[in-house]
Structure formats: C-alpha cells, structure tokens
C-alpha cells in the first residue's frame, strides 16, 4: 500500500477501497435492508393514511439534525482516508476521532428522540408505522454502534506505527459510509415522503 | 483411589485426580439417583398414559410428598452425572490417531441432553406444586414431564454413536479404550433409540410406560454408566501409569 500509487491512481486506474470481504458485507447489507424497506413500502401502500398521520408525530428537526451529524461524520471519515493515504496518520487519527464522536452524538440524539416518542405514548405496539420506525431505526442504531466499534479498530490501526494498513482504514470507512447511506434511505422513507 | 499412589507426585497428577473425582461422582450420585428412582411412586409400574385426568390429579395429590422428594433429588443430583460424561470427553481427546472432532460433538450433545433431563423434573414438580389445580392442567404437565423424560434420547444416541465411532477410529498402537467398548456403546445407543416412540405411542411397548421405552431405555442407560465406570477406571489407571497426561 504505497501512498504515491494510491493518489496518482485517483482517476486513471481503478481501485477497490478496503478489501473484498467488507464489500460483501456492505453490498449484502444493502440488499437485506433493501428488502426491509420494500416491505415497509408495501405495508405503507396498504394503509397510506395511517402511515402519513403517524409520520407527522416524528420530530423532523431531530431527523434532519441526525442526518447532518452523520453527513459530517462521513466527511470526517472520507477525509481521514485521504490523509491516511497521503501518509499523514496524525491527522487521519484526529479525523477518525471526530467521525466517531459524531457517531456517538448520533446515538445520543437518537436515544433522546426515542424517549420523547415513548413519553408521548408512541411505542412499538402503537401501530404498524411505529413498529417499523422502532425496528428500522433500532437495527440501524445497531449498525451505528458496530460502526463506532469499527472506527475504534481503525484508530488502533492508525496509532500503531508498524501497522497503518491503508486497506483497513478504507474498509472501516466503507462500512461507515454505508451506515450513512442507510440512514439517508430511512430518513427519506420514514420522515420525509408523503 | 489406589491408582494415585504410583503417580501422586507427578506434576500433572491433578489432572488424573480431578478425573477420578468426576468418575467416582457417578457411583455416589448413582446410588442417590437410584434411591430417588425407587422412591417415585409412579415408576413401579410406570404411570400409564391411559389414566384419566382425574386419576392423574389424584396421583399427584395422594403422593405429593414422595413425588417431591424424588424429583427434588433428581433435580439436585441428576446433572451430577455430567462430570462423569466429561471424563469420557477427556479420554476421547486423548485418542492420538485422530482429530478431536468427535469429542467436541460429544460434548455439545451431552450438554443439550442434560438440559432436557433438567427440564423434565421441573414439570413433575410443578404438577405436584398446587394440588387444587384443574385435573386437565395437571395432566398436561404430567404429559410434558413424561414425554421430556422418556422420549428425547436423540442426544444420548448421538453421544454413544460418536463414542463408538471415535473408538473405531482410534486404531493406533495404544488405543485408549478396548475395541469392545465401541461395540457396546453402539449397542446401548440402539437399545435406547426406540424410546423416541414414547412421544407418539400411547399403548404398547413403545408407550412411555412400555417395556422398551421405559425399562429397556432406563436399564440400558444405567448399565452403561456402571460398565463405563469400570472401563474408565482402568483407562485412568493406564493414563496415570503411562504418565502422558493430557
């Protein structure tokens, strides 16, 4: 993993970021979540009015805030990969910390959002929409926590001068962006669409 | 415990000692379990599946004390036989001319089988817990108890087939077990296998009170423990003398 090769290869030749194993995870996860979302749409189509009224009880401000938090973290992580590639582990490390911090912030905001919904009386058994809401965001939250863990592994990789394998950093980043991507879909389907 | 005299001072003798303790746990708790077995009022003869709900309920209210004594003893001491089977696992892992895949399969099956036995006696105890319960419910608990006690031989059958296979594959110059133990393990498995029928049949030898499901199954199991006790004692003696602890 020489740095020059990576940067020069920017546009001309192709390069699979990370390793193939992580892409199996990401692509498979996209298919699985695709299945969950399609099933959500089917149930929504069966009862659009109930879903729409329930959607109104979600707090769009928190949804947008969380989207922005994840986008910022993705930006940090993408920059961190570039720094790692350019042979600057110090700033790569700093950017990874910032990205992970955003991930933790996402979890905290989500917990707050859930608690307000539960206090307002909307729980998993309220109706189909809220069942989907809690399960989809819950499984996504599981992915976020896993992502924070993976970023921790990236940190360990970057901190050890004898390691610093760029493909490990890339693999972690690929996973993290997938978490972001899934949230974008959840945000569109659960919060925004009418 | 004389075996120890020859090896007591070897650094790894503790390995043999702990195995011996596990081994001797079998006759000690075996006697306790035998008493519990003899004490259960529903084993001589085993309760018939033909009994009506009222008869079953009456059985539990008439014999509450003995049922409780017997089943609480089973509860406390039944799984105490597990260390004995763990000695078999250790000995399977000593077989030199094979991988240890049989031992791990045996271990997994032993744990699952033990869980089932531990569950069955809870059902007996719950059935005896409130004498005033509706007879229908007592019969349901009684059915569950008998079925889970007698029918799930699958784990033990698999264990013995694995033990048999392991002994057949252990064909190096110094096999751990004599060859006949393999034949005997498989014969025990075959003797116990038909008891699975207790889950389905309510009359005949395969019903849970039948000659095959009850007497052959439990007899084969008890005999196996007794025979294996002596076999393992000898095997442990050799392991101690050879001084190749695992």
């Amino acid at each position: 993993m020489t740095n020059t090769e990576e940067t020069v290869a920017d546009v001309e030749s192709t390069h699979t970021p990370g390793d193939g194993h992580m892409w199996v995870m990401v692509l498979g996860d996209l298919i699985i979540f695709g299945g969950y979302f399609i099933i959500f749409m089917v149930y929504r189509a069966m009862n659009p009015q109930e879903f729409l009224t329930s959607q109104q009880h979600l707090n769009i401000n928190i949804g947008v805030l969380n989207t922005l938090v994840l986008l910022v973290s993705s930006w940090f992580i993408a920059r961190s990969v570039q720094a790692a590639r350019a042979g600057d582990p110090a700033s790569a490390l700093r950017l990874t910390y910032l990205g992970g911090l955003c991930g933790v912030a996402f979890i905290l905001i989500k917990a707050y959002e859930w608690s307000t919904e539960i206090v307002a009386g909307y729980t998993i058994s309220s109706n189909d929409f809220f069942m989907f809401y809690y399960m989809l965001t819950g499984v996504h939250l599981f992915h976020v926590s896993l992502g924070v863990l993976i970023l921790g592994i990236t940190v360990r990789e970057l901190r050890n001068p004898r390691r610093r394998r760029v493909f490990m950093v890339e693999a972690g980043a690929t996973y993290w962006h997938m978490v972001d991507l899934l949230w974008i879909v959840i945000f569109a389907l659960l919060y925004v669409m009418r | 415990m004389q075996i120890l005299a020859e090896v007591e001072d070897l650094p790894k003798a503790a390995n043999i000692k702990t195995q011996l303790i596990s081994l001797w746990a079998a006759p000690v708790f075996g006697i306790v379990l035998l008493i519990a077995f003899l004490a259960f009022p529903g084993f001589f003869p085993p309760m018939s599946p033909d009994m009506t709900a009222e008869q079953v309920a009456k059985f539990y209210s008439d014999h509450t004390a003995l049922i409780r004594f017997s089943m609480i003893t089973f509860n406390l001491c039944g799984i105490m036989l597990l260390p004995f089977f763990m000695v078999i696992v250790i000995q399977m892992k000593r077989m030199a001319s094979q991988s240890h895949v049989f031992a791990y399969c045996y271990l997994t099956a032993a744990v699952s089988g033990g869980t089932l036995f531990a569950l069955a006696d809870i059902f007996y105890l719950v059935a005896a817990f409130r004498p005033g319960r509706s007879p229908e419910l007592v019969m349901l608990l009684n059915d569950m108890a008998w079925m889970i006690f007698i029918a799930p031989v699958g784990a033990f059958v698999a264990m013995n087939l694995l033990l048999g296979a392991a002994i057949y594959f252990d064909d190096g110059p110094t096999p751990v077990f004599p060859r006949w133990v393999g034949h005997y393990a498989i014969a025990t498995a075959l003797a116990m296998a038909p008891a699975a029928g207790a889950a389905v049949f309510s009359t005949g030898p395969l019903a849970w009170n039948g000659a095959v499901s009850f007497w052959l199954r439990n007899g084969a199991f008890a005999l196996f423990v007794v025979v294996m006790f002596f076999v393992l004692r000898k095997v442990l003696h050799r392991q101690a003398v050879d001084g190749v602890p695992t």
């Binding site: 920017d10 390069h15 970021p17 929504r44 986008l71 993705s74 350019a86 962006h177 569109a188 | -």
Partner: protein, 92 residues
C-alpha cells in the same frame, strides 16, 4: 492531488447537506398543526433527492467513483432497482 480530493469530498458534503435542508422543508412533520396530505409530486421529488444523495455517498464517500466497473454497476443497479421499486409501490 490530495487537495483536489479533499475539495471534491467537501463539495459532495455541501450538496448532501443542502439536499437535507430542502428535505426538511418538504417533510410532513413540518406542517405544524395542519394534517399533512399525501402528495405524489413531493414524494417523487423526495425519492429523486434520496437517490441523488445515495449516489453521491456511494460515488464520492465510498470512492466507488474510482472502483472497478463491476462495483459501479452493482451499486447503480441497486440504487435504480431499489428506488424504482419504492416509487412503483408508492404509485401503485
């Protein structure tokens, strides 16, 4: 080179954030008080915006832009089929 890459990433991030703000304005939860009505045009716009967002994340953040063709193809096919499916179910 690194500076260019950094700039591209930042542009991608700006576009994504801008789309998110627009979505905020479209959402039914935003109509304070009044009941939201189903709206085909809004939903179509939302789906298109989400599709664009997803593709930007895949191409620029996940760096599929410079990845082998099969990966580009797979992700594009997934995006297309998925969002087309969502839209088809919605409109049906």
């Amino acid at each position: 080179m690194t500076a260019t890459a950094a700039r591209t990433t930042t542009y991608a991030w700006i576009v994504l954030s801008a789309i998110t703000i627009v979505s905020w304005w479209l959402a039914p939860g935003h109509t304070r008080g009044a009941a939201a009505a189903a709206s085909v045009p809004i939903t179509v716009v939302v789906v298109l915006l989400a599709l664009i967002k997803g593709r930007i994340i895949i191409r620029y953040f996940m760096e599929v832009r410079t990845a082998p063709p099969w990966l580009k193809l797979f992700t594009d096919v997934w995006l297309t089929i998925f969002w087309a499916g969502v839209l088809a179910i919605y409109l049906y």
